[in-house]
């Protein structure tokens, strides 16, 4: 049995804003019967066609899908379209006091339906901002659930996902035949790679303390997430002078390629911290 918060249970048992709005200004539909969950979101705008005055939903899905839909309609009522667009799936989950990680895709579905509704509305006869609908762009990565690389990369970046399993929890991609998992891992690496590029290059001169801090930061932010993507991990055992002692964990431990991984860690630390760093693999 899922460990749902009282808020999730309450929104499931007594959902707010169920139904259709016959003369809705915008309608967003995502998911399908085949996928196991689907959401149709109806939005009614004020006279200026800017602020959401009513929102209703119809949902096919599990308890958290229904609760997420209910939460979404509560959150966006009274907001302008731009404010509504800023709602993240995390905000929906937070509103419910959290969702089990395996059910995060329900909150993503809510956010997605909202984007679809607004994009469709704005892409209509009077395009003002001309928001492109990202979800429909890109190549389909997961055939089972019809999800594109553009969409997946967005969810990966927004929720800081580092493993294929997390991507499945948040989007369902990879949850059926699993054929798309290798590509999902590539997408994670791509997103992590872009983020890494944005981080500052190595500083000129370092105090000992700062050097140790920087080594730790680099390991945490730049290196471990890459290992996680492949089910591996490492731990910092000790730093003495320029020698950095690390121990591999999970898939990396006992991996025949861990020597290469150690070299990679060394190269990364030399690139981002200091040229004289030596990485030593220890048991620990």
């Amino acid at each position: 049995m899922w460990d749902y918060t009282d808020k999730v249970r309450d929104h499931f048992l007594n959902p707010h804003n169920v139904g259709e709005i016959k003369d809705a200004d915008a309608v967003g539909e995502v998911g399908s019967l085949a996928c196991g969950d689907a959401l149709k979101l109806y939005i009614k705008l004020d006279e200026d066609k800017n602020r959401i005055i009513d929102a209703k939903f119809q949902t096919f899905g599990c308890a958290s899908a229904i609760a997420s839909s209910s939460a979404l309609t509560d959150i966006i009522k009274g907001r302008t379209l731009d404010e509504a667009l800023a709602v993240s799936n995390q905000e929906i989950a937070d509103y419910l006091g959290g969702l089990p990680e395996e059910k995060m895709h329900c909150s993503v579905m809510g956010q997605e339906a909202l984007e679809v509704a607004i994009a469709k509305y704005r892409g209509g006869p009077v395009p003002t901002h001309n928001h492109d609908h990202e979800e429909l762009e890109g190549d389909v990565v997961c055939k089972c659930f019809g999800l594109t690389d553009v969409f997946l990369k967005k969810v990966i970046a927004a929720n800081k996902l580092t493993t294929a399993e997390q991507v499945t929890h948040f989007t369902k991609a990879g949850g059926a035949c699993g054929g798309c998992l290798p590509r999902i891992k590539e997408l994670i690496a791509e997103v992590l790679g872009t983020e890494a590029k944005e981080t500052p290059k190595k500083p000129e001169k370092l105090t000992n303390l700062r050097k140790m801090q920087l080594i730790q930061e680099t390991l945490e932010k730049e290196i471990r997430p890459l290992l996680w993507a492949d089910g591996g991990d490492l731990e910092l055992v000790d730093i003495s002078g320029s020698e950095v002692q690390i121990a591999f964990r999970k898939a990396c431990a006992g991996c025949s390629a861990s020597g290469n991984t150690a070299k990679f860690v060394e190269a990364k630390l030399r690139e981002l911290v200091a040229d004289d760093i030596v990485v030593v693999e220890v048991e620990g």
Partner: protein, 391 residues
């Protein structure tokens, strides 16, 4: 709130009489049956009695009973043993609708160089025996086909399958995972074609953590667990004596209640089925045309999702199970319903009720009363099916 338990294919209540039988073997009669003193000896006697009782339910002889920890262990022991006995044979035959205890094992073996054939089922969950005939060859080490399916209750023609294995298999072993069948339908190993059979205690009102591998006399066997000489060196490890004794009692009671299972329990299941179909439009029985266990009803409701149904039922004190993926943490509908080609419109909204001798008419009435409004409510919320349902 009275709890109505209709999820007996998942696990069952320990019968009070079973519990009473095992109780002394924790704090009073805690001897090791392998010990040479009287204190262990009296436990050994009781274990022997349990072995007899299990054998009797199966129509087997006591030496053919090997106690294990669970159905999964028995399945693993049977299949792995066959592969060790025939190291040159690299082919395993099973079905697409097996319990994960068999299916996951076979698929893992498939990744390690074994050839695995998974037999298909039709829309009612029935096997095509010609497909089996075509698949079996000299390279086949073992055919493992479940006796009855845990989700739909569909019963396979085990003896016919066994005959085909004997005719065409050139010595291939025939194993059946009978976890759902034992205690519900009569089995007779004395006249059977089965070489190895798995059963699990907690499906027939014994506690969790005890299982049996039936091993036909003369069938060569390589143990999965090695160590001491317990269970005639076929399963090492100190016996779980209290649970063994409990299972013996449970088997005795199962034999006693078999008629009830096939009479009263079946009548309750049939009534539930009939009335739900009458009250709820766009519902269908999974495997409804096939021979089924007397206690199991898998019913699909279009346009709604299983976990939501279960949670609303649970609010009313009713415990059932779903063939939908959401409850299990995986995202596809159950592999059994998918293999049967149950359309997605139904597969996500499938619910399984599995009864036992501890259910009564008031339970059935409660389900019949509570379920239709639950389905109605979720359908009102669903974006699908308007065109069919509003009529």
């Amino acid at each position: 709130m009275k709890e109505i338990y209709a999820d007996n294919n998942a696990t069952t209540k320990v019968d009070e009489a079973v519990f009473e039988e095992m109780r002394p073997y924790f704090c009073e009669l805690y001897g090791n049956p392998s010990s040479m003193h009287f204190f262990g000896g009296q436990v050994q006697k009781k274990v022997d009695e349990a072995r007899n009782r299990v054998a009797q339910l199966l129509g087997a002889s006591p030496e053919e009973i090997v106690f294990t920890a669970c159905g999964t262990e028995s399945d693993n022991a049977a299949i792995r043993s066959a592969l060790e006995v025939y190291p040159e044979r690299r082919h395993i035959i099973t079905t697409r609708v097996e319990h994960p205890a068999v299916l996951t094992l076979c698929r893992n073996l498939g990744k390690r160089g074994y050839r695995v054939t998974e037999l298909n089922v039709d829309g009612e969950g029935r096997l095509d025996l010609d497909e089996l005939r075509g698949a079996i060859d000299q390279d086949t080490a073992i055919v493992s086909v479940m006796y009855a399916n845990n989700e739909t209750g569909v019963v396979f023609p085990i003896e016919e399958i066994g005959k085909i294995v004997k005719e065409k298999g050139k010595g291939a072993f025939f194993h059946t995972d009978a976890v759902q069948a034992v205690g519900k339908i009569p089995l007779d190993m004395a006249t059977s074609t089965v070489d190895m059979l798995s059963l699990s205690g907690h499906k027939l009102h014994a506690p969790k953590g005890i299982g049996v591998l039936y091993l036909r006399k003369g069938v060569p066997f390589r143990p999965f667990l090695v160590g001491g000489h317990q269970e005639r060196s076929r399963r090492a490890g100190t016996e779980n004596t209290a649970a063994i004794i409990a299972l013996g009692k449970a088997c005795e009671l199962a034999a006693l209640h078999m008629a009830d299972e096939n009479g009263r329990v079946k009548a309750m299941r049939d009534r539930l089925e009939k009335e739900l179909l009458a009250l709820i439009p766009h519902a269908r029985i999974n495997g409804g045309q096939a021979e089924r266990l007397p206690n199991t009803l898998s019913i699909a409701f279009e346009f709604v999702e299983g976990e939501a149904i279960l949670m609303l039922l649970s609010e009313k004190g009713i415990c059932a199970s779903s063939g939908s993926a959401c409850t299990s943490g995986s995202l596809e509908p159950s592999h059994v319903l998918r293999a049967m080609g149950v359309p997605f419109t139904c597969a996500h909204g499938s619910v399984r009720f599995s009864l036992s001798r501890f259910n009564d008419d008031s339970d059935i009435e409660a389900i019949i009363r509570e379920l239709p409004p639950v389905i109605e409510r979720l359908r009102q919320m669903s974006p699908f099916g308007r065109e069919f349902l509003d009529k």
